[in-house]
C-alpha cells in the first residue's frame, strides 16, 4: 500500500513484540502524509541481524496534537510529525 502527500492515514494499533520504530502513543491515531522520505532497509529486521530487504517506504506523517492527547493545552494548530514505515499505515477508515 503506497500513499501520496495529503492522504489521510491511520497508524495500525498493532502490538508487535521486539524492536519497532513506531512509538506507542501514535498507534491507532489518524493523521496525514506530509511527505515521502524514501526507501530504507526495514529497521525491525536489521535489529536482529537480517538484511532488512526488501526496503520499506518511509513516510513523514503529520498529526494534530489535539488528536494525540485529550488534555493537550496548546493551540489547535500545533502539530506533531513522525516518520512511520509503510507497513504501520493504513488508509483512514481501514483497508476494507
Amino acid at each position: 500500500m503506497t500513499f501520496e502527500p495529503g492522504d489521510r492515514v491511520r497508524v495500525l494499533p498493532a502490538e508487535k513484540p521486539g524492536h519497532v520504530r513506531t512509538p506507542g502513543y501514535l498507534k491507532g491515531k489518524t493523521g496525514w502524509i506530509e511527505s515521502v522520505l524514501g526507501e530504507f532497509p526495514n529497521p525491525e529486521e536489521l535489529a536482529y541481524g537480517f538484511s532488512g530487504r526488501p526496503e520499506r517506504l518511509l513516510y513523514k506523517v503529520g498529526f494534530r496534537q489535539a488528536d494525540l492527547w485529550d488534555d493537550y493545552d496548546g493551540p489547535a494548530e500545533d502539530r506533531l510529525c513522525a516518520d512511520v514505515y509503510e507497513h504501520w499505515l493504513e488508509p483512514e477508515g481501514g483497508t476494507a
Binding site: 520504530r21 513506531t22 512509538p23 502513543y25 522520505l37 524514501g38 530504507f40 529497521p43 518511509l58 513523514k60 496534537q65 494525540l68 492527547w69 493537550y72 493545552d73 496548546g74 493551540p75 494548530e77 500545533d78 502539530r79 506533531l80 510529525c81 513522525a82 516518520d83 512511520v84 514505515y85
Partner: protein, 217 residues
Amino acid sequence: MSDHHEEAKSSTSPYAARIRAIEALLLEKGVLTEPEVQDRISYMEARSPANGAKLVARAWVNDEYRERLLSDAKAAASELGMDPTHPAEFVVVENTPEVHNLIVCTLCSCYPRAILGRPPDWYKSFNYRSRAVREPRAVMREFGFEPPEGVEVVVHDSTADVRYMVLPMRPPGTEELDEDDLAGLVTRDSLVGVSVPRYAGSKGISANSGRLLNDND
C-alpha cells in the same frame, strides 16, 4: 531533569561497568581493535554544535544556500567541508514567523551526530523524550523560551532513519554582524528548537557561549 543520566554517567554505575565489559569482550574476540575504538571516539569528538552554527549562519547571509540547506541538507553540509556520511538522512526544518520547530526522539536519542556530535544529556532523558511530544510549550518555557502568540509549534519525532536539525530565525538587530559573529549566536539548544538565538547588541556576542563552540573547530 537529568538525574538518572548523571547517575548513568558515573564511572562506577552498573551501566558503565556493562559497557566496559562489552568493550573488553569485543576487543578480546577481535570484533573491534583498540585503534578502531579510538578512531570512533576522535570522529565523534571532532563534531560539535559549531558545525550546525556554521550551516545556519551561511543560510542567514545567503538565501540560495538557505534553499539548498532546506532541500538537500547533506549536500549543503558537504559544501562547507562537513562530512555528513552516515546511514541516516539529514533534514533541516526552518523556523518562520508562523512556525516553530522542536526536535525529539521519543524511542531513543536519534540526533544528527554526524554534524553536531553527541547529544546533550537532557536530550536523552526520559523527561525530555516523554514531555517534548506531549507538552512542547511547557518544555520550551523551562528552557526560557515561549513562542510568540499565534506561532504554530511543530514537534518532529525522529522515529526512524531521518535526523533533524532546526534552522532558527536570524535575530533582529544583527544586520551589521558578519557570518562568524552570526554563527556565535547559534546555540546547540536553538538547533534542537528548545530555544532560539538571541542578540543583545555587541555585548551579547562576547557573553555568548558560541565563541567557545567556535574554538573547537
